[in-house]
Symmetry: C2
Subunit: 397 residues, 2 copies
């Protein structure tokens, strides 16, 4: 047996542990008495248009075509429409930033990441991630034999620290993963950060005589509030690979549909793409689920009702600030990253539990002393939880 | 970049090469003049019950639940119903051969195989496959750092040769993959073969002081004709891991839904299962597509209309035999494995092309001198192709 895989199967993530505790606790004292902010599972339903698109496809398409193998990289017409959408929506220059022949349809963003990382990495390579980061980046990277190098963001703003990233780059650096809007901080990296980061990567690539690829993990692209702008990175950096998913924007996390888009401006773009296809083949993906592939072009640009998340954010943010909590500016995703009221985030979460508040300590995100609050819950839970947050803060006075 | 992944992305399979040739040739001389027997893509549509089950789910289930993350191993109630079905349908003993807590829902059989192999294997291990075999077994096995050991079946019957398997087993042997009904031969291994093979594996496991796991790859389980019986291997061998898929039985190859079922009788069953879960996590699967997970229990035991394949088989078999071709007894799947009329299968396929017959040479299946004929085509194509098969045979007289 493979002991590493056994270890991964045995170790539940902290988030899952809390989720299981929530189930037990709710059975004890009632659903509405437990304030579970642990899991990033969209609470807003998929829009009616998802149901309509799927039933249309089921009723009007030849089942042999609808449910048959697509080509391994995805149906050609689907890829064409996605590329058109990317060009129309995000391209701010004149040269293309996508191509139907460089899009690879995947089972969600996780598969997009594992295929991209498996394509790029060799034993001993290094992958820089901006901490705090989504913990599965470590699992996906280490499986390839490469090493994960977390580089801490600014402790106040949770924006990238270019000086620290510069110091971390060396001849082993193969890729940098950028996730904005960010899980777990909810921070959207502004254009000046993207410009500074990509300038650095261009300079370093030149110095090292090899491309450092930027993997843009973008499942939260559409989840932004108050008019925040999410720069589309291929406009700023040629060696970009975008990993995308409908999980969060259309509330379809269980369906596993997304894509990898290699920029046509990237060095060796065609070979990077073929290596992604090869990785997909070796990992056993065959093709992304065909029904959801065919659905995707029918819904490009649509989202579930994200005003619900925005309202949750606003209620929670202003209350927590009033109670004395400190948080980075949360313009996107559905997370708040709040400074714990004592140095040890785990101890803080244990105390929060006494107030029936279930928060995730920041340690597994690669940074200490914070908690993640996933506010993709009901507005009712948010409102009912406020006295508990207030009491928790007061317990530290 | 990872050169192995690039290599896998660049090398199209022989089958895909022929498929691409078919498209070009059809455009030149007309669809009905080209007899393409290359691809194992089900030609019989999914039954109406698939559409009904999916539209029912879409119209009657809360979308947050229907499209949300299931637990990583799959929805608990889905796993329960699958286990019940396995017990009721296949168990011929008194002790269970499946458990809801040992079923892991996957994106089809390919994912079931990569998760199982990644769970079991370490660098330097060996995996025995019975040749001829599905070529992707090599890709899936070698990615883990293990070695594929093909063991040739009997050249006439294409049934396992126990003496050869016995000679191939050594202390490095971690697993044996068994695929019955078989791709590419269409042979169903009779109970006496399963008994002989599993006795050998029990004896060798004992001698070696460690379990040799049997991976039963069963996407063609239901595709059998003339009353052929497919023994359910967990009844015969404790250390069995079943990999299953709806791709072929319900004509849903693009949708990617299946499972791994670890036998509760297996040594370290719980740890094998956890390692499978860990592998799924590391490879980026997250969960199998939730809509198709929920569909599966609604359709257990159903198939698309396989009498169509049986008719194709009967027409083709009796005609080819009459023309002097030799084939192993094809009781299942939708393949015939026919002895080439000259030693070099590739040369034979090139000559067949002159008669517009597109056949797959056996070399990539790990055995020389045969061709695979996928008869999951229209009956019309079968009937129209017969004069060409006759003329091809006569060209060797």
């Amino acid at each position: 047996m493979n002991e590493k895989m056994l270890g991964l199967g045995k170790s539940r993530s902290v988030i899952r542990e809390i989720f299981e505790y929530a189930k037990v606790r709710k059975a004890e004292i009632g659903d509405d008495k437990v304030f579970d902010f642990s899991i990033g599972n969209p609470s807003v339903p998929a829009p009616e248009s998802v149901k309509n698109a799927l039933t249309d496809l089921l009723c009007s398409t030849d089942p042999v075509q609808l449910h048959g193998y697509t080509s391994a990289q995805g149906d050609a017409s689907v890829r064409g429409k996605i590329s058109d959408f990317i060009e129309k929506t995000y391209n701010i220059g004149s040269k293309p930033i996508s191509s139907p022949n460089l899009i690879y349809m995947t089972s969600g963003a996780a598969a997009a990441l594992t295929c991209s990382l498996t394509a790029l990495l060799n034993e001993g390579d290094e992958v820089i991630v901006l901490a705090p980061f989504f913990p599965e980046y470590r699992v996906f990277t280490e499986r390839t034999g490469a090493k994960l190098i977390p580089v801490l963001c600014d402790e106040e703003t949770m924006r990238p620290r270019i000086d620290r990233i510069s110091a971390a780059i060396n001849e082993k650096t193969a890729a940098v993963i950028v996730n904005s809007p960010n899980n777990p901080t909810g921070v959207v990296y502004p254009e000046e950060d993207i410009k500074a980061l990509t300038s650095l990567l261009s300079k370093k690539s030149k110095e090292l005589g090899k491309p450092i690829y930027l993997i843009a993990d973008e499942p939260y692209r559409e989840l932004v509030y108050g008019g925040a702008h999410v720069p589309y990175i291929p406009n700023y950096y040629d060696n970009t690979i975008v990993c995308y998913s409908l999980s969060k924007s259309l509330s379809l996390p269980g369906e596993r549909i997304g894509y990898v888009s290699v920029s046509p401006r990237a060095e060796n773009a065609q070979n990077v793409y073929l290596a992604v296809c090869g990785a997909g083949r070796a990992l056993g993906f065959v093709c992304a689920t065909s029904l959801f592939q065919f659905m995707m072009p029918m819904l490009l640009g649509e989202t579930s009702d994200i005003s619900i998340y925005e309202k949750n954010r606003n209620i929670l943010c202003s209350a927590l600030t009033e109670y004395g909590y400190k948080t980075a500016k949360p313009d996107g995703a559905f997370y708040l990253f709040v400074k714990a009221l004592e140095p040890d985030a785990k101890a803080f979460c244990e105390r929060a539990k006494k107030f029936e508040l279930l928060l995730v300590p920041s340690n597994d995100f690669g940074c200490e002393g914070y908690v993640r609050i996933a506010y993709c819950t009901s507005e009712e839970q948010i409102r009912n939880s406020l006295p508990a947050f207030k009491a928790l803060a007061e317990s530290y006075l």
